[in-house]
Amino acid sequence: MMKRSVTTALICFLTVAIFGQNANMILEKVDQNMSSKNRIFQSTMTIYGKRNSRNISSKTYTEGNKKSFTEYLSPASEQGNKMLKLENQLWIYSLSTDRIIQISGHLLRQSVMGSDLSYEDMMDDRKLTDIYSAKVTGSEKIDDRICYVLELTAKVEDVAYYSQKIWVDEERFIPLKKELCAKSGQLLKRMELKEIQRIQGRWFPTCATYKDMLKDGKGTEFRMTNIQFDQTIPDYIFTKAALKQ
């Protein structure tokens, strides 16, 4: 009897350990695909408003999770505006007023241009393994792709979303769907990642749909084109001087 209990306990412990290890391994593989030393890409953000939809195109340079520079290319009202993120600070340059405005603190949680993304969503590019602990809770199919279902819980304080549920393509190790939640468990945002392409040896989603679950509307579509990973980006790009050039 005693022997049976010990054996059962051992099997449970090993199962948890193995699954825990599996969850971390899955997350690491996701990070290998999603994270890079740096990235340069062009993107079009389609914001579905109540009355109409708008397309905003931009070019972005990012380096790790601490530096990001974006220049808006269209429409005409946005053209010439730029954003620079260094560490946890964000500066916005407006061509029409020739001013650099710093945004910080709770303002980073505000929506970018009326979209369903916040400045924090756009800026936070940390590796999931650095922020979350994970466990596999099951398996589901999304768009005919079998996915691991992972539940992530924050292991650091400064996170925008305390917990996430992600559906990771078993074959390509790309999240196809994410549910981002607050500490209370309230679902805050839902993301769907599509049009997975093979770029420079990695799988990468080139289209993401964000939906802010706390407001009405059809959400925001973020589509990336011309993505290049691990390029040489001049240092001056990530300076305030570059905002006014």
Binding site: I47, G49, K50, R51, N52, R54, I56, S77, E78, N81, I92, S94, S96, T97, D98, R99, I100, I101, Q102, L107, S111, M113, G114, S115, K240
Partner: protein, 424 residues
């Protein structure tokens, strides 16, 4: 008889002075309390009407559902035609366009980078059209602390506390950072022409007033506005008229399911004003009632004591053949006279105090530092025709009631026992 009783009251101060003082104090307090409550309610109503609700307000249906968030993406488009139509239908109402907005105000350093920054609530009103009464409604001229009112587009007023916090003077420029009607980032450089003190904790914390044309260009709102407000040209809110106008307007769109169809709300429909006014009136009436009740009980008690003191007098009068009914009626008349004298004096003093409170006011600013209600920082009383009788009538009635109750004892006196009592 009245003259006789009056002589008695004036000569025998021991039976009248205390009662007059009691009535006087009670009436005075009632009048002051009423004028004070009315002043606070009226000022809060006026402040809300001028700044927020108007006497009537037109918005799109979706905007109305979230009005406190100032959702300019749900603004009225084609507002010029709407205002023209409203003016034609209701020429006795002054219709004005307004845009309310929130945003960041960013003050630059010499390099053009952020020196100081703060959130602000803004009103975009018609500052420059001839015939516009918006400056008057916002009391801009009188509340100006430094600088001068805006004279051209691009010039704005900010709250004085806000300016002091960020060390900003008239002539300084800043950038307004907000969101356009379409959701894009909005930037506009503006110049501080002056600073104002609104006298309301909410507004003084961070408010900015700009011309509506500046807002329309900054937020890409050509021929659009968040709100259209209507004010009765005589300046007085008429709820019955407001109901008629609102119902007539809303009936035109009753069948429409368009979330952007306009809807008209009257003052009492907004910001819980109806509940606020009803609650405040109920509280005021309740407090007045308590005063009257207390006063009546005190006067009844005083009447009983008076009755005890005048026990022999009533006994002699009964023994001399005066009817009980007659003695009782003289008591009532005495009550009437004392009540009148006390009420007149109390009303006069009460109105005097209320007038003083109207002129000087009571500064509630320190108590309202973190307030989020649109309440005036200085509470003032208001003297209305009602003040002349709100205390007078209850003062009079309570004296009569007190005497009436205390005089019941007369009917219990028995003639057969009178002489025995008098022997003592």
């Amino acid at each position: 008889m009245i003259k006789f009783l009056l002589k008695g009251i004036l000569h025998d101060k021991s039976r009248s002075l205390l009662l007059i003082i009691v009535v006087c104090i009670g009436v005075m307090l009632t009048v002051v309390l009423y004028c004070w409550m009315k002043g606070i309610i009226d000022e809060a109503l006026m402040l809300n009407a001028n700044f927020t609700t108007g006497h009537l307000k037109v918005m799109t249906r979706d905007y109305a559902k979230n009005a406190d968030q100032m959702p300019n993406d749900l603004a009225i488009i084609g507002v010029n035609a709407l205002v023209k139509e409203l003016k034609a239908d209701n020429p006795d109402i002054d219709w004005v366009k307004r845009i309310r907005f929130g945003g960041l105000i960013d003050f630059p350093d010499p390099k053009g980078e952020t020196r100081a920054q703060g959130p602000a609530v803004g009103w975009a009103i018609d500052l420059f059209s001839s015939g516009s009464r918006e400056k008057e409604r916002f009391n801009l001229e009188k509340s100006l602390v430094t600088g001068k009112p805006p004279h051209k587009p691009g010039e704005v007023l900010i709250s004085n506390d806000f300016a002091r916090k960020f060390n900003v003077k008239p002539g300084d420029t800043f950038t307004l950072f907000g969101t356009t009607m379409n959701g894009s980032m909005a930037f506009k450089n503006l110049t501080v022409s002056g600073t104002v003190l609104f006298g309301s904790a909410v507004l003084d914390r961070g408010a900015i007033i700009i011309d509506i044309t500046d807002a329309q260009s900054a937020f890409e709102m050509d021929d659009a506005a968040g709100e259209v407000l209507g004010y009765f040209k005589n300046g007085q809110y008429d709820d019955d008229k407001a109901i008629t106008v609102a119902n007539a307007f809303n009936s035109k769109f009753a069948k429409s399911k368009d979330e952007f169809a306009p809807i008209m709300l009257r003052l009492k429909d907004q910001n819980g004003m109806a509940e606020y006014v009803d609650y405040a009136n109920a509280v005021g009436e309740f407090m007045v009632f308590i005063f009257i009740l207390t006063m009546s009980v005190v006067l009844w008690n005083a009447g009983l004591l008076g009755g005890l003191r005048r026990y022999k007098e009533f006994g002699i009068r009964l023994a001399m053949g005066e009817e009980k009914r007659h003695i009782y009626s003289t008591l009532i008349y005495e009550g009437l006279l004392i009540g009148t004298v006390g009420s007149v004096i109390g009303t006069a003093i009460g109105i005097g105090i209320a007038y003083y409170l109207k002129v000087v006011g009571f500064n509630l600013g320190d108590m309202m530092k973190n307030a989020s209600l649109m309440m005036p920082s200085v509470a003032r009383a208001v003297v209305t025709p009602t003040a002349f009788y709100i205390g007078f009538i209850p003062g009079l009635l309570s004296m009569i009631l007190g005497n009436a109750l205390s005089g019941i004892g007369i009917y219990k006196r028995r003639t057969a026992e009178l002489f025995k009592e008098l022997e003592v």
